[in-house]
């Protein structure tokens, strides 16, 4: 019973309802292949939103995720070298790089005490400067086998990206809800002062949270590179607002301290579903935009009510 009234379940129910309704409205929408594709698209948002969920629950927000996705997708081809036939090494290097970017965000937030919005916004600005230097630098299209596999393979009929997402989800949910580290994050988000006075190592936990966000954004960059065969400046742009929306539609409180990635997962799928729905509706761009906003607002009414706090 408790499950049925929980926010994540509510979000799943909404996704199912939207899918069913849309399949009636447009034949083909509910085809297995299409749903599978939507989940695959959702994987990218879901990965970015994994880190975002951690950050939001910890009481922060990460506005640099889009730039990190782009940096990841742009810098990976620069690193593809012949010596490594699997393509794993460059991926690890890029993930290390994006994790470090996240850690720097964490440093600014924890040690310089810069507000997360400002710190990560400034980081996004930095990364733009970095992109001017690195973008367009690869004169050769170097196919990375691992990245290509991630973006295109379908082992047992399931897209590799979705498998990656499932694996990440299991880890994220475990860390979030079944470890002391997860509990510290919730505590920091609910009341940072009380958390600190209870002995929660606030600095290192903050660093870890933003590091995770950098890591999952980097991972999303790798995936989206594989899916599109080519990185470009702006490839990460759609994922900033999408990641925040997925987190909130999944019932996580934007004020921190309450929430779960279990809600973010259907939240991400919900967003790509709505986007796909809007695409197949024949309307002028203005009306489409209005429809998109209204749908989000309507769904928010169902799943996103903030609990009163004192």
């Amino acid at each position: 019973m408790a499950v049925l009234s929980s926010r994540p379940f509510l979000t799943v129910a909404i996704v199912a309802a939207v899918w069913i309704a849309a399949s009636f409205a447009s034949r083909g929408f509910g085809a297995y292949g299409h749903l599978r594709y939507l989940v695959e698209l959702g994987a990218v948002i879901g990965l970015v939103a994994a880190g975002q969920t951690f950050v939001v629950i910890a009481g922060g927000i990460d506005l640099s995720v889009a730039a990190i996705v782009t940096v990841s997708a742009i810098s990976l081809p620069l690193l593809s070298w012949q010596a490594d036939p699997t393509g794993l090494a460059p991926v690890l290097v890029v993930l290390a790089l994006t994790t470090i970017i996240g850690l720097v965000n964490g440093l600014g937030v924890a040690l310089l005490r810069v507000h997360p919005m400002i710190m990560t916004l400034a980081m996004a600005t930095f990364l733009q400067g970095l992109l001017i230097i690195i973008a367009g630098g690869s004169a050769v299209t170097a196919e990375n086998p691992l990245v290509h596999w991630l973006g295109n393979a379908r082992p047992a009929g399931i897209p590799a990206g979705v498998l990656l997402w499932v694996a990440v989800s299991v880890i994220v949910l475990t860390v979030m809800h079944a470890t002391p580290f997860g509990a510290r994050i919730f505590a920091m988000g609910a009341n940072p002062l009380a958390a600190a006075l209870s002995g929660v190592p606030v600095t290192s936990t903050t660093l870890a949270v933003y590091g995770i966000s950098g890591f999952t954004s980097g991972l999303a960059g790798v995936l989206v590179l594989g899916m599109n065969g080519q990185g470009y400046v702006g490839i990460g742009d759609p994922y900033l607002l999408a990641s925040i929306a997925a987190v909130v539609l999944g019932g996580t409180s934007i004020l921190g301290g309450l929430g779960t990635y279990a809600g973010t997962i259907p939240g991400a799928i919900l967003l790509v579903t709505i986007t796909a729905l809007i695409t197949v509706v024949n309307a002028s761009p203005g009306w489409r935009s209005i429809l998109f906003g209204s749908l989000i607002l309507g769904l928010l009414l169902l799943s996103g009510r903030e609990q009163a706090r004192r």
Partner: protein, 499 residues
């Protein structure tokens, strides 16, 4: 004569849990009416009904003998009802005057009339002995002074009915005296006063009538004449009370648990202090003299400097809370909502937090073990309520118990307590006192910062009285008395010399 304000057979439940059942109370002019009960008995809930902040599920609220269909805070204000809430209703960034007038500003041409506001706020402040500039943002005041602002805010409304929910819980003895004198005067002017407190001696001296709640049911509604404190406690808990303070047996050893020289942190400047193992060391003084900074500095929560320091045999200050915890220090803050608890999390989670903070980050948790620990702690401290509920659903006193309980599994060697019995009912106080003494007897050190002077007198080996960022006096057990503490806090010796 019709009571100015009354509740007739009111009931209230939260999420199906009855909190008040068929309770009646009548406030008469010129009378101080005490409302007593254990933590969670429903006192705050009752005054929320009286003041329109909550709506009763059943029963009626009457003003001047007439039932009010739908009481709201606005109605209450118009009817001359003012409430000093247990939880402060102030806004940190607004000035003292703007806070005092909040919701009832004097107007001129639709604008706030600042000069009228200043004049009226100043009058209210003078009544409660607040002398800070009226433009001071409230956020800069220590807790005790904020409580006075809250009281001034109620007086500003020139109430006919004044309701005070534990107004003295964060006040020092001097401030309490100002307040009780003031209430006495207001009473003689014909105001009806409802007074909630867990300090029974205050109730005995101040009040004429008492209503006692137990588990949401009214167990007594009678005049105070002919009752003594023990009788009141009997009404509240339903059995004979023991002595409030436990038998005192010396347990201090000469060994130092903590020793600092030239210690400075926050307001505290160049303090030398030794805390012996096995003692309860009291910290007294007027509110806001730097006592809190002393504790926080030792705890590594604010930057501190020192010439030399030894904590449990380890040289140096902790420099951070996790390190302090590792050295065996634990701290229980005074402002439980802001610093002690995670109100939106469950009681269990709150109790487990210190454990989460020190366990290996990625070790898997055991929910069952957590539940059991929490249940044990709840039983030990008598915390009532469903442990899977949010901490914000607990009454104030029970919240305080949770803030204390969470350290128990970690067996701290030095317990730093910042006003641990604030807003705690007598029975619980007794339990806490017993715990503290037992703790000391087990060879550990307790530092007890308290605004409740009798507590310091009866529990402590020694009391350090802080004035102006320094330890003005270190009173040994033999020299401990309420008068000694108060006069040291006021710098009375100096004044005597000067006179």
């Amino acid at each position: 004569m019709a009571p100015l304000l009354a509740a007739r057979g009111v009931s209230k439940s939260f999420f199906g849990n009855p909190v008040l059942r068929d309770v009646s109370i009548a406030l008469q002019p010129g009378r101080v009416h005490a409302l007593l009960g254990e933590n969670g008995a429903g006192k705050s809930t009752l005054i929320n009904l009286l003041s329109g902040a909550l709506r009763p599920d059943g029963g009626t609220i009457e003003v001047d003998g007439r039932a009010v269909a739908r009481m709201t805070p606005a109605h209450a204000r118009q009817a001359g009802i003012a409430v000093v809430q247990q939880e402060l209703s102030l806004t940190a960034s607004l000035s003292i005057a703007e806070n005092i007038g909040l919701g009832a500003y004097p107007k001129r041409f639709g604008l706030v009339d600042y000069s009228a506001l200043a004049a009226r706020a100043k009058a209210a402040c003078e009544l409660v002995g607040l002398h800070e500039p009226l433009s001071t943002p409230v956020g800069r005041l220590p807790l005790g002074r904020r409580q006075m602002v809250e009281i001034a805010k109620a007086l500003y409304r020139k109430p006919r009915v004044l309701i005070l929910d534990e107004p003295t819980s964060s006040l020092s003895a001097t401030e309490t005296k100002i307040l009780t004198d003031l209430l006495e005067r207001l009473r003689s002017e014909g105001i009806a006063i409802l007074y909630i407190s867990h300090r029974l001696n205050e109730v005995m001296t101040l009040c004429q009538h008492v209503t006692v709640l137990k588990d949401g049911i009214c167990t007594a509604d009678r005049t105070l004449e002919g009752t003594d404190a023990a009788g009141l406690v009997r009404l509240m808990v339903g059995r004979d009370p023991g002595d409030l303070f436990p038998q005192w047996r010396p347990s201090a050893s000469p060994a130092n648990a903590v020793s600092v020289r030239n210690f400075s942190a926050g307001l505290m400047r160049d303090v030398d202090l030794d805390i012996r193992t096995g003692e309860v060391l009291g910290i007294g003084g007027l509110v806001g003299q730097g006592q809190e900074d002393l504790l926080l500095g030792l705890y590594g929560a604010i930057p501190a400097r020192t010439a030399s320091a030894t904590i449990n045999g380890t040289p140096g200050l902790p420099g951070g809370v996790p390190r302090a915890n590792a050295l065996g220090l634990a701290y229980v803050p005074a402002d439980r909502k802001r610093e002690g608890l995670h109100l939106i999390h469950t009681i269990t989670t709150n109790m487990m937090l210190p454990a989460f903070a020190r366990l290996p980050a990625l070790k898997l948790r055991s929910r069952r073990a957590e539940r059991e620990t929490a249940r044990g702690l709840a039983a030990q401290l008598g915390i009532k309520g469903d442990l899977a509920r949010q901490a914000q659903a607990l009454s104030g006193g029970n919240q305080q118990k949770v803030a204390l309980a969470k350290w128990m599994p970690h067996d701290p060697v030095v317990l730093l307590l910042n006003d641990p019995t604030r807003g705690v009912d007598v029975e619980t106080k007794r339990e806490i006192y017993l715990m503290l003494r037992a703790f000391a007897a087990a060879g550990k050190a307790v530092v007890l910062l308290s605004s409740d002077t009798p507590e310091l007198v009866h529990l402590c080996e020694r009391v350090a009285v802080v004035r102006d960022g320094r330890i003005a006096a270190m009173l040994e057990r033999a020299a401990l008395s309420e008068e000694a503490i108060v006069s040291a806090a006021m710098g009375a010796e100096n004044r005597k010399v000067a006179a």
